[in-house]
Each structure stands twice: as C-alpha cells, then as structure tokens.
C-alpha cells in the first residue's frame, strides 16, 4: 500500500499553483478537524479514508465514492455533511460543519477536488522576492514578504522605532540583556548608516548571545540537573549545557549541531566535545524509586527520545503514533517503531547496586571531562602509586590467609573465657545539684526523676562488700520515663543522649580519687571517649556520650591501677559531672565491682564472639571478621591508611563527568508494541524513517548517525522550516506557523508561507548559519518598527500576525532575572561549570526518597550569574522561574506560555533575589551619581532600567516616592537598618548612609517592577 501511496506524491501539485481553492489552506483544515480522526490512516471507519485523493474518490465499503471530482451529486460527503438525519449526518457527534465550510467543499469539488500534499511535507523551494512599493521599509529581504502581504491588504506598516527603543529591543532579542549605558550612548551618537549593523554584529559576536539562545534549545532538549520522579536526585550533565552555549556562540552550522547531538558518539574518531554533545538524548527523566521495572524505564526513555526528536527537528507529533496509527498525519504505528529502532541500542539506565531486592540507582554511560594537563599528570601519578600500594595490600592480605584459620580458633578460645562477674553496689546516698531526685531502685540502680537539671552533678555513695577488687563498672540503664527509654535525659533536642564529662571515684575517707589503668565502654560517640571520664579535664565536651545508639543500655568499665583491697563496711563515693548542658544527664546509673580485670577490646570481643559463634557466616560477616583479624596487623593497618589517603587525594583531582550516549555492540530487536506497551510486543521491525518524508540515502549507516544525516538532509522538508520558524517566534512572539510545535495537518497554516520557505532555504544555502538568519531578522524593517499599539492596529490585527507593528511582549523568566541583575549592576559574566544556586525561599526542596539533595544559596558571584546556569531540579525548579512560566523540563518543551499574574507581581516585589537587586541598584545609582541632584539620579536610574530618558511626569512620581520614603526612614533608623540587612551579599560602601540607600531602594524597586522593564518592547 505504501508503494502505491508513494507514487501518488508525485502527482500532487504544490498548493501555490492551484487556482481558486487552495486545498492546504482551505480544505485540509476542514477535513482534518471533522473527518480524519475516523477517516484517516488509523483504522478508517467503514473502510473510508479521506486523507488522500485515491481513497476518497474510490470510497469505502459502501462502494459510493465519497468524492467525485466535478460532480456534486456523486460526492457522498456532501450529502452526509448537510443531512439532518442524525443516523446519516457526518460528523456523527459534535457540531455540524458551518455553512461557509460546506460552501468551500462544494466549490472545491466542483473545481476538480484536487488534493495537494500537505505543504509541510513538500521540500521548500526558494521563492523570488515579491515586488513591493514602499522601498523605504525594506531593510533585509525578509521585509519584502511582510510588506507584500500588507500592501495586498492595503495596510501600511508602522513608522521605524525610536533609536533608543530599537537598541534595547535588539540587545534583548539577541543577547537577552539590555544595553549598558556605554553601549547605549555609543549607539545614540553614531549617525553612520552602518550604526545598526555595527550593533547587531557586536551582539552576535558576544558570548552573551549563546547564553541567551541556549535557553530555548535547552527547553527542547529537556535539559535539567536532576532525574525527575521520586527523590529527584541530581545528575551531572552541565557540560552538555555548556556545549550548547559554545556551539551557538561559534555559530556551529546547524546540520553539524544536529549530527553531533543525535550521534556525536558514532562519528569516526569522535572528539570529546562530540561525545559531550550526545548529552542531548541523555536528559530524559529516570524513575529510581524502589520497585521500578528497569525495562519499562528504558522503554519510556526511548519513547522520549523519539518524540523529542520529532518535536525538535520535525515539528511532528510522532507520539500520536505510539499506540496506534496517527489519526491526522501520515505516520503509521509501524513507522513509529522503526524510528524507535534507531534509539533502541543504548544500555539500561538504572542499576541495582546491591544485586538484591528492588532498590535502584540512576546509572548509564558517563564520560569524564578533560582536565588541565597538570591535574591529569598528578592523577596519573596518584593512580600509579595507588595501584602499587593496592598490590602490596593484596600481597599482605594473602600472606595473612595462612594464619587466618588458626587465628579464628585461638580467638574462639579466648573469647569464650567467662565474662567478668559483677557485684552490684547498693547506693546508700544520692543527691543531685541540678534539682532532680535520684531514687534508689530495687535492682541497685538510681533513677533520676523530676525536671533534669541543665548541668547536673550527681553525688552518690555506695557500700562495698569486703574483698579484693580489680575493676569498676557503671551501667547506664533504660527506663520508660525517658525518650526512647533513654539512656540520657537530654532536653534540648529529640534524642535521649547524655554527655558525662567526668567521674570521680573515691573510697570514703581517702584523700585522693582512685586511679584507673584501662577504661573500656561498649560504645562511644565519635570523640566522646570513655577514657576522658577519668582524666581530670573538666572541659564540657571532654567526656563520654553515646549518640546515635539510643534506646540501648550501655556500660563503661575501668580497671584499677592497683587492686583495691577493702574491709567490711567500706564505702565508695562517686561523683558524676554532666557539664555539657541541656539536661544531657545519665538517667539511670548503676555501679558494680569485679574481681576480674577489664579485657582489652571487650566491646569488640562481643561482636567477635557473635561472628565466631556462627556456624555459617555470610559474605558480609566473613568480611567483618577478616577486618578484625587484619586490624591486629600493624603493617596492614598502616598500608590501609595510606591507601585511604591516596584515594582522597585522587578524588580531588578526578574530573567531573557528563552523561553521554553509547551504542551497544549488540543491537536490540525492535518490535511494534501493541497500545505502546512494552509488555505486548508484536511484529519485528527494522530501523527506518517515515516514508512520507525524504528518502533514505544508501550511503548512510542505518543507525543514529544515518538518522541525523537524514534529519538535516536538504531534501528533508521539515527541519529547516521548523527551526527558522521557532526563531521567528522568539523574535516576534509567535512563529510564522503559530503552532511552532506542530507542522502536521492539525497545525495552523503559515501566515507567510513564502517567507517561511525563503528563510528555510536561505538558512541551508548559507551553511546552516543561525547567526546569518538572526541578523536578517534583527536588522529587518519589520522587527525595527514601532511597537505602539493603535486602535487601527488592534481592530485589524490584534495578535500582530501580519506585523503592522513591531513586537512587544513580556520577557522569559531567565531574561527578567538577567535583566534585573544587569540593570542593578550585579550581573556576573562568569560562564559555564556546575549549576549555580541563587537565593530562593527555604523549604522548597522536600522531595520524598533516598539521597535528597539540599539547596544552599551561593554566597559568591555564583549568586549573580545568568539564569541559564541556575540549577534545574525537575520536581522543584527555581521558584521565580516557575512564576514566570518556566517549565519543569521533564519533557521536551517547545513553547512557553506567557501569562500575566499577581504571583509575578509578588515575585518582583518581594522575592529575596529581587530585593537584593533593588538594594544593589540603589547602591549603584548613588555611587555613580555622586554630587548629582536627585532628579539627575532618577534620570540615570531610568536610563539604566529602560534605556531612555524619563518624562517630567515620571520624574515627579519617582521623586515623590523618594521624598516620602526618605522622611519615613529618617524618622526611624531601624527601618533602613532592617531593609539593608536583607542583602548581606551586597557590599554597602561605608560612605553611604543606610537611610539614603533605603530611600533609593524604593525607587529601584519600582523601576524593576515596571511592565516596560520586563518587556521586550
């Protein structure tokens, strides 16, 4: 069937040549809206298809031709659309066709019912420039097409824009930033005929150009710094973002730009940069929540790659053919999976690290970024050292194998020696200076009750039976009165820790405390060692604590330096000093003595005993046991430490990574998936491209590289058109085809089809140069018209589709922030590198799941760099960007909406980032206008914010506000203090009074909030 269909294409005439009724402009939209969903490629109802002439003339199962050229009677479609019988009427549901639509159909049929290939699938040819009258208006060839249409309608374009407004528009349009005062002055004074071109050339050559235009491309590339989904952990892919910026700055030909991103890895002798470029398709989201099915993840990512390729380059909604044949456009489900096959040969992107259970981590091919030569050298040396050491380590461990078994036997004997027997000592007195009572419990312990003292010292007396004692023990026991049952009484935070600074143990009547030779505890918190209990050091932290081992009883044991020989009725006095504070007191101590000594490593022994006692040890346990064994070998310990240190050093010189595409050696088989589900594979398919588009050339490899070449082949009817149209949309607010994301039969027809084709061909002819096309547009008379909206313009063309005036619309989220920073004099021009963290409100990053990253606002110049570098976390993108229609970049985002909301007002008025900008702006105004009048200062400020001089009325409003606030701030110095304190990162020059800065803050705040300030007008 396809062969036959293909042959039909040659008989279609381009729509331009058809007289009277234009099928593509007038008829296709009607058929597409009312008919194709049921009578198109996908499972046509009654066997009837209306999307191609042959099918329509032949008719469906009924045998009646739906359409017979030049014969209204024999055209069933006409009977059906006018029928009042709902059994017969078409469409069967919804509104009927409008009378004018029916009239068009009749005219079309009676004039031959000629179909034409959908315009977007016909290769563009460069039309001749139309002849126009008003030569004054023509600045670049682009203008002839615009003017021709206006003259056809008898309309006149607007006058050229004022010079000051023009330079702001063009600067914002090309670089996303307003002109600096200097750039502004230079242009205003330049009366040469080349003045405008000089500006355009300067802007196109600026690095700011790539930073601005990369934004749109990264929306398409769904570039973000996180995985999306549960936990939404961060990933390193920013080298790709920088690659895009650099490529645009270098004006890399768009065909090369395309090939490197789709298939840079497959180019012969691919360079590092070409591999980085493939990050374009490593941006899809990845779900790593426990229990995901890795294959489902992978298939979803491939879907995403196919669909994004379709939207970005072909302006085609391929995803409509994912589950069934496309309802409107000539793409079958089989063709969808043929495209899928190109992308089906990359590895899985989640891995189960432990090899057990259902926990997954994000994985997939990564590439190290090149690092400077000296670092590279250092790394090589370190690596060499490390591997040498590791060899030694392995050799030592091997040598140890010989005695390992023997050791375990010995240890088993030692550790099964009986534990010391402890004789509990019964307290006779107990007192705390912190106010709590120490109640004597029947088991000999003391339970602290009542409100814990902040820093309590317990004084306790216990009686000792006569005998010779070798060691002393204190247990910290549990009780339900404590949080998590204890063992401490901490009152400052949620945990039940204690910090015991010092213990003094004395025999009643003795002059000196007892001396201990060895101290052991079952556990200690890092740095809070049990030995510090008896060292006489009363520094509050110099003691014993047990976090995070809460809810468990603990012990500390100490062996006397000399055995303690005592007679009858002896008593021991114990002093426990808790000097850390916050009620971190032991909740239930108990004391005992033993006639045995304290064994070295008693705590470890317990675990060792457990390990040795096991009949069968699993891998983890065996490793643990072996580690204990190895620890007794000082040589091995020293070597391990060396290895650890080296690894740390190596980490410091290890370069960051970026995500790249890698083709597997063995290709996966691709099958059509019923209803788009990977669980229902159907017939096998091979990689191929949709037949309705350009032919595949024999010398292309059937892989991503071939696909990329097909995409940018001059015969591809879509790519160049789609790309230039999207740029046009950025300049003018809307594309020549207003549905910038869709060029299919459901799209809006182009307002200026010849212009679109001219630009597309010009683009390809001039070496796919983006800057060339941008210059043609930026310098055009169309772009350079006044943007004033008059009544006549509103009545004629409210949406400015015919360009009766210049563009005027709100900037994007990033532009608004960049513009504010530039106006305030804060913008840093540092380029590239890991994402930046400007200030945002607390508590916005709180995603569920493992390893959630933290948001810590930058305190360096990173705070003031361009929006393109701001960290893009999919679950919670930068808050002020969201309020200005920034997408979450979870999927290819071809076009941002442009809303106008109260939340935007609140953002510009109150967001910390904008408060800082206003304060910075105020400081900068004052610094740069020293000795000037307030009026001069207002003029200076307005020039910076709006690239123009203020009117007298505007000055009056701003000065009014300034004076009013000035009064208020003078009346109470704390106000200015509070205001200025909010921008700790803005350096206030000491000479400036805070109340003056504060008053100018209000002027700056107003200027940064104006509609004009956030508008490219």
């Amino acid at each position: 069937m396809w062969l036959r269909f293909k042959s039909l294409i040659f008989f279609f005439l381009p729509s331009l040549l058809l007289a009277k009724i234009d099928f593509n402009r007038q008829i296709r939209p009607i058929l597409s809206e009312y008919c194709f969903a049921c009578h198109g490629l996908d499972d046509p109802k009654g066997g009837l298809r209306l999307d191609f002439a042959d099918f329509a003339y032949q008719g469906g199962k009924s045998g009646f031709p739906a359409i017979t050229p030049n014969d209204l009677e024999e055209s069933e479609i006409l009977h059906r659309v006018v029928s009042t019988d709902m059994e017969e009427r078409m469409p069967p549901k919804g509104d009927p066709l409008k009378p004018e639509q029916i009239k068009l159909l009749r005219q079309w049929i009676s004039s031959g019912a000629r179909y034409a290939m959908h315009w977007a699938y016909v290769v563009p040819k460069k039309p001749a420039l139309p002849k126009v009258k008003d030569q004054e208006f023509i600045k670049t060839p682009v203008d002839t097409f615009i003017l021709a249409k206006l003259e056809e309608k008898g309309w006149k374009p607007s006058r050229p824009e004022k010079k000051e407004k023009w330079i702001r528009r063009v600067s914002l349009g090309l670089t996303g930033l307003p002109p600096t005062l200097e750039e502004f002055e230079n242009f205003m004074q330049d009366d040469s005929p080349k003045a405008k071109e000089k500006v355009a050339d300067r802007l196109l050559a600026s690095s700011r150009y790539g930073e601005h235009w990369a934004r749109q491309w990264l929306d398409l590339a769904r570039y973000a710094d996180s995985n999306g989904f549960q936990a939404d952990q961060l990933r390193d892919s920013w080298a790709f973002r920088d690659w895009v910026i650099n490529a645009i700055n270098q004006d890399m030909p768009f065909d090369q730009f395309t090939i490197e991103q789709i298939a840079g890895d497959l180019l012969p002798n691919a360079t590092t940069d070409q591999k980085i470029a493939t990050g374009f398709h490593r941006t899809p989201t990845c779900n790593v929540e426990a229990g995901v099915h890795p294959e489902e993840n992978r298939v979803n990512q491939v879907f995403d790659r196919v669909n994004t390729t379709g939207t970005t380059w072909l302006g085609t909604t391929l995803e409509c053919a994912q589950c069934h044949n496309h309802k409107y456009d000539p793409f079958s489900q089989e063709e969808y999976f043929q495209m899928f096959a190109f992308f089906n040969n990359t590895p899985l992107e989640v891995e189960n690290k432990s090899g057990k259970g259902v926990s997954f981590d994000f994985w997939g091919p990564k590439m190290e970024l090149p690092s400077p030569a000296d670092k590279q050298k250092e790394r090589e040396t370190l690596n060499a050292d490390l591997s040498a050491l590791k060899k030694q380590l392995i050799a030592l461990q091997k040598a140890g194998n010989v005695k390992y078994k023997e050791w375990t036997q010995q240890k088993l004997e030692i550790t099964t020696e009986r534990d010391p027997q402890w004789q509990v000592l019964i307290p006779t007195k107990a007192f705390s200076d912190g106010g709590e009572t120490l109640r004597i419990v029947r088991d000999g312990s003391l339970l602290a009750e009542g409100k814990p003292g902040n820093k309590s010292t317990y004084q306790i007396e216990v009686s000792i039976p006569a005998g010779t004692w070798k060691s002393f023990q204190m247990e910290t026991m549990l009780h339900k009165s404590m949080k998590q049952n204890g063992p401490g009484r901490n009152t400052t935070n949620a945990n039940p820790n204690f910090v015991l600074t010092e213990m003094i143990v004395k025999v009643e009547g003795a002059s000196k405390p007892l001396d201990f030779a060895r101290v052991e505890a079952d556990f200690n918190q890092g740095g809070f060692l049990p030995g510090q209990l008896f060292d006489g050091n009363l520094e509050s932290r110099n003691g014993w604590a047990i976090a995070p081992e809460f809810g468990k009883a603990h012990w500390v044991r100490a062996e006397f330096s000399e055995p303690l020989v005592l007679g009858k009725d002896s008593k021991l006095q114990v002093e426990m000093k808790h000097l850390y504070g916050g009620g971190r007191n032991v909740g239930r101590p108990r004391f005992s003595l033993s006639t045995d000594g304290v064994k070295k490593g008693e705590a470890e022994n317990k675990r060792l005993r457990e390990l040795l006692a096991k009949e069968k040890r699993n891998g983890k346990e065996e490793k643990e046991l072996r580690a204990i064994y190895d620890q007794e070998n000082p040589k091995l310990l020293a070597l391990q430490k060396k290895v650890g240190d080296l690894e740390k050093d190596l980490n410091k010189v290890t370069p960051p990574t970026t995500l790249v595409m890698v083709e597997m050696d063995e290709k996966r088989e691709t099958h059509v998936m019923a209803r788009g589900s990977y669980l229902s594979p159907k017939q096998k398919v091979e990689a191929d491209v949709p037949r309705v588009l350009n032919d595949w050339k024999q010398d292309w490899p059937k892989n991503r590289l071939g696909l990329a070449k097909w995409v940018v082949d001059p015969e591809n009817p879509l790519t160049a058109r789609v790309v230039v149209n999207r740029w046009w949309g950025q300049f003018f607010g809307s594309g020549i085809v207003s549905t910038e994301e869709d060029f299919g039969s459901q799209s809006e027809p182009p307002t200026h089809p010849e212009l679109l084709d001219w630009l597309a061909v010009e683009f390809m002819e001039k070496g796919w140069s983006m800057k060339h096309i941008h210059k043609l547009i930026a310098l055009s008379g169309t772009y350079g018209q006044s943007s004033r909206v008059t009544t006549a313009i509103l009545e004629r063309d409210a949406n400015n589709r015919f360009f009766l005036r210049g563009p005027r619309f709100r900037m994007t989220a990033e532009m608004i922030r960049d513009n504010g920073l530039q106006v305030a004099g804060l913008l840093s021009d540092k380029m590239g590198g890991p994402p930046i963290y400007p200030p945002q409100p607390d508590g916005l990053w709180r995603q569920t799941g493992r390893n959630e990253p933290k948001y810590i606002a930058a305190k360096t110049e990173d705070r003031f760099r361009r929006g393109i570098y701001v960290v893009w976390r999919r679950a919670a993108p930068y808050a002020s960007f969201v309020n200005f229609d920034g997408p979450d970049r979870s999927a290819c985002h071809p076009k941002r909406s442009r809303t106008n909301t109260p939340l935007q007002a609140l953002t510009l008025l109150n967001d910390q980032a904008y408060v800082e900008m206003a304060l910075g702006f105020a400081v900068s105004i004052l610094e740069q206008t020293q000795g000037k009048s307030d009026e001069d200062r207002v003029t200076h400020a307005v020039r910076r914010a709006l690239s123009r001089d203020p009117s007298a009325l505007e000055i009056e409003v701003l000065l009014g506000l300034l004076n009013e606030q000035s009064e208020r701030l003078k009346s109470d110095s704390s106000i200015a203090e509070a205001l200025c304190s909010q921008a700790p990162e803005i350096k206030l020059v000491k000479k400036l009074e805070k109340d003056v800065v504060g008053a100018w803050f209000f002027v700056a705040n107003v200027l940064l909030n104006l509609d004009e300030t956030i508008t490219k007008g």
């Binding site: 989904f229 549960q230 989201t285 779900n287 929540e289 426990a290 229990g291 995901v292 909604t317 409509c320 409107y328 259970g357 259902v358 926990s359 549905t739 994301e741 459901q746 004033r788 909206v789 009544t791 509103l794 009545e795 409210a798 005027r808 619309f809 409100p841 709180r846 995603q847 569920t848 679950a875 808050a879 309020n883 979450d888 979870s890 999927a891 909406s897 442009r898 809303t899 106008n900 909301t901 109260p902 939340l903 007002a905 609140l906 008025l909 408060v915 505007e954 009014g960 506000l961 106000i975 304190s981 909010q982 209000f1002 705040n1005 107003v1006 909030n1009 104006l1010 509609d1011 508008t1015 007008g1017």
Partner: protein
C-alpha cells in the same frame, strides 16, 4: 478616556472572542479577567457544559497509598485464609513493586482497633482505626473498585492526577481551573497544601502541563509565606507597599497611554490583585476568629501548621470561592509494619477530615462541595516481608493497582452508598470496575463539565484529561 485604544479595542470584542483567545494564552485571558465585572451578564465559563452538582472540590490525596483493605474493604475470606500462600494467579506474571517470591495472604490485624464496624443507617463497614469517619458513613459514597495502570508511586500519582503516567499533562485541578475558573479573584482558583514531603512526582501532580501556567495549583505553605513571596521585605510596611504599587501603576498607566498595549492594562490589574492578596491570604490563614469548638473539632491550633489546620483552611477557602483545594499527605507507603504504622497515620487524618465534612454540612456547604479521598493505588491483600535491598522486614503490603477504595462526600454524590465489589480475597474486581479515567470523568461531570468536551489544543491535537477514554459512573451520582 473614550478615545483610548484599549477601550475601543474592548468594545470591538465580544466575550466569546475573548474566550477564544484564552486558548492562545496571554492577553485574551488577562483581558477577560479584567473585564469580568463589565461582562458579568455573559456566561462566565466556556466549559460549563451543564448545571453543576458541585461548585468546589476538596481533594485528599494520601501519598504512598493507604491500605484500603485495613480501612474500608473488609474481606472475611481473606481473614480466614490469612497466612496461606496466595493463589498463583495473584502472583505469577503480575506487576508488583517489591514482592519477588510467592507471598502469603494477609488479612487485617486481629487487634480490636482493626475491627470493622457497620456504621450508620447504611451499615457500611469502616475500620475502628477511623472512629470519626465511622460517624459520618451515611454521608460517604464509596467506590471499592477503582483500578489504575501504574504500580510505582510517581507514575501512578501522575496517572491519577493527570490521566497520563509521564510528565507533561495538566492535573485535574488545573483542568478544572481552566474549564470553569474560580469566582474569587483575590485568591488562586486552585490551591494545594502538602503535609510531610512532596509526592514523588513533584509539582507535576498539581501542575498545568501544557495549559498556560496560570491554571496550576498554587501551594499554600505551612511554614514561611503561605504563598511564595507574599510578605513584604523587612522595612516595607503595608503603607509603603501601597505607595510602591501606586507608583508602579502610575508609571504603567503612562506607558499604556503611550504604547497602547492591552497587556499593560492587565499588568496594572495584576498588581492591584497582588496587593489585595497580601490582605486576603493572611485573612484566610488567620483562624484565630474560629470558635474554640470548631478548632477543637478539627484539632486545629491557632498559629499551628499541619493536617488539621489545613482541613480547616480548606473549608475557609471554599467559603471564599476557591474552586479546587487539594491536600496531599505523605506517609502512607506501608511496605513494612503496616499494622504498627497505619494506626498513627489514621489518627492524624481521621478527626480533621470528619470534622471538615460535618462542618461543611452544618454550614450548608456540603451539597456544593465535593470531598474526595484518594491515593495513587491501593495495597496488596498479600503480605510483603522483604525491603528494598531484599532484607527481612516486619510484614506490610505492597503496591496494588488492580482494585482499591476511594470515597467521596457531598457535591452531588449518593450519600451512604457503596459502588462496586472486589473479589473474595480483595485482589481483583468482582463487579462494576471503575478506571481512573472513569473516576476523573465523574468528578468533572459533578462539576458540570463533559470530560469529552473539556479540551485544549496542543501539538495539533485536542487533549482531554481522560485521553480517549472514561465513562461517567452514574451510580455514584445522587
């Protein structure tokens, strides 16, 4: 001002044209907003297809998915066969997130707090874990046979809320906001409150997808500014703020005079609205004037934050005309320790939700307010005994997409009613299945919208919340 281009322009537009421009975003929408008062005689909403049963929605999404089998769907047979290996058909070839070997059947706990009680005149069984909800069973309308297509949290949350398992589609609240707007201009039409951590799918579950971003859910936060950037910076009091806005708007008006772009007129009105929000939102959040009886009924605290406070705020929002209020509560994903952890979670939500429904009823608001209890899926009637790394854990329940219970109250739903029946083991559906698309179609229907006609054109296609599926479940409509 008669000669002003904006005025003249406005006169040339009919309301219908204005709304046609809504689809194009931008100026049209804003203008329509600006003109609402002048054109109040015209129909307010382009997608108000028929008279609504419900005007507002309060939608609870219990993130992680509560164990419906232990709360709303008692299965004597499952109880009887507790501990048996499950039938092979319930395990083999099934999509389960954690369970990797044939599991046992798991009835509910035998402790008395897990017992089911027949409640009210309707005699609907509700677990003792929810004693407050037990008292309002006769107001509730249960669907015991909801089923979904996704078995991992994030995709299932998106499927439930946006009708699609991947990113990029508008949420139910956004569709509602787009379809019928919101009567209060000083508050967002779609408000979201989250207790605990965010859902795994992030903001997308209340996002606007391809719809203009004005329709997305605006989060009211417990800590910090209730709405982001609501409060003035230090040193700017409300008088100073008023002066700033006046100055901004004076300058914007001069610009409008010179340039004539209607978008500037919209900007002016948005700044005024922002100023009003700075008063209306704190007023909304201030529950200090609520009676002690009301506060106690919810368990809400003046100056507090949390689920109970959010329930009370939800009532205050619908009173003020917020169209769609959505509460997300984290912490219901009981893979392990379901019997030890479920009671605590129930205790947090039971009283406030029941109090909210009673309160709405007493104020005569329940008839026009649709309350929904939902989750991304249910939990298995089989026990799960291992965790994410394959380690042994206290028994819990895995994700279950085949059948689970949701319920509604008010808003034109049938009170004291149960729709659908699961099979004896609570695994599959015995009778009257309801797909997620059916459920969403039904919710839109109650709001007066035809889910087949609530469309938005994007990338050459008219998109719907329910894709090309969905049937209104007539049986749950009063």
């Amino acid at each position: 001002m008669n000669s002003h281009p904006v005025d003249q322009y406005l006169r040339t537009l009919t309301r219908r044209q204005l709304f046609q421009r809504v689809g194009l975003g931008v100026g049209g929408f804003a203008l329509a907003n600006l003109l609402k008062n002048d054109l109040s005689a015209a129909p307010q909403n382009p997608f108000a297809h028929f008279a609504p049963k419900a005007k507002n929605v309060i939608y609870f999404h219990l993130i992680g998915a509560p164990s419906h089998l232990d709360l709303f769907d008692y299965k004597p047979e499952l109880q009887k066969r507790n501990g048996e290996l499950c039938p092979k058909a319930m395990f083999e070839g099934k999509q389960l997130a954690f369970i990797r070997s044939r599991p046992i059947l798991l009835g509910t706990s035998k402790e008395s707090m897990f017992e089911f009680k027949k409640c009210g005149k309707s005699g609907i069984g509700i677990s003792n874990l929810l004693p407050h909800l037990q008292t309002i069973a006769d107001d509730m309308c249960f669907i015991r046979t909801l089923h979904t297509e996704q078995f991992n949290h994030a995709p299932a949350q998106m499927f439930m809320q946006t009708g699609f398992e991947r990113f990029g589609r508008p949420s139910l609240g956004a569709w509602t906001n787009y379809g019928i707007g919101s009567p209060n201009e000083d508050l967002p039409g779609f408000v979201v409150m989250v207790t605990g951590q965010y859902p795994g799918a992030g903001n997308s579950v209340f996002g606007s997808g391809f719809l203009p971003s004005v329709y997305q859910g605006i989060e009211f936060r417990g800590k910090g500014d209730p709405v982001l950037f609501l409060s003035n910076p230090q040193g700017v009091d409300s008088t100073a703020r008023r002066k700033v806005i006046s100055a901004v708007n004076q300058l914007n008006e001069m610009q409008l005079d010179g340039v004539g772009d209607p978008e500037i007129a919209t900007r002016i009105s948005q700044y005024e609205m922002a100023y009003r929000m700075q008063t209306s939102v704190p007023e909304l959040k201030d529950i200090s004037k609520e009676s002690q009886i009301t506060l106690d009924a919810y368990g809400a605290k003046v100056g507090g934050a949390g689920f109970a406070n959010n329930c009370l705020l939800a009532r205050r929002m619908v009173e003020r005309g917020v169209r769609f209020v959505q509460l997300f509560d984290q912490g219901w994903d009981h893979h392990s320790g379901v019997f030890s952890r479920l009671p605590g979670k129930c205790k947090q939500v039971d009283q406030p939700i029941a109090a909210l429904i009673k309160d709405l009823k007493e104020r005569g608001l329940l008839d026009e307010t649709l309350v929904v209890w939902s989750a991304e899926f249910g939990r298995t009637p089989m026990g799960q005994g291992t965790g994410g790394s394959g380690e042994k854990t206290v028994i819990g329940r895995d994700h279950h997409k085949e059948a689970f219970t949701v319920w509604m109250a008010g808003g034109g739903t049938k009170p004291g009613h149960v729709h659908g029946r699961t099979d004896d083991l609570g695994y599959g559906i015995a009778d009257s299945p309801v797909h997620v698309h059916d459920f969403n179609a039904t919710l839109l229907h109650l709001l007066g919208m035809d889910h087949e006609r609530l469309t938005y054109r994007f990338q050459g296609r008219k998109f719907r919340l329910t894709d090309v599926h969905g049937h209104v479940v007539k049986d749950v409509i009063a």
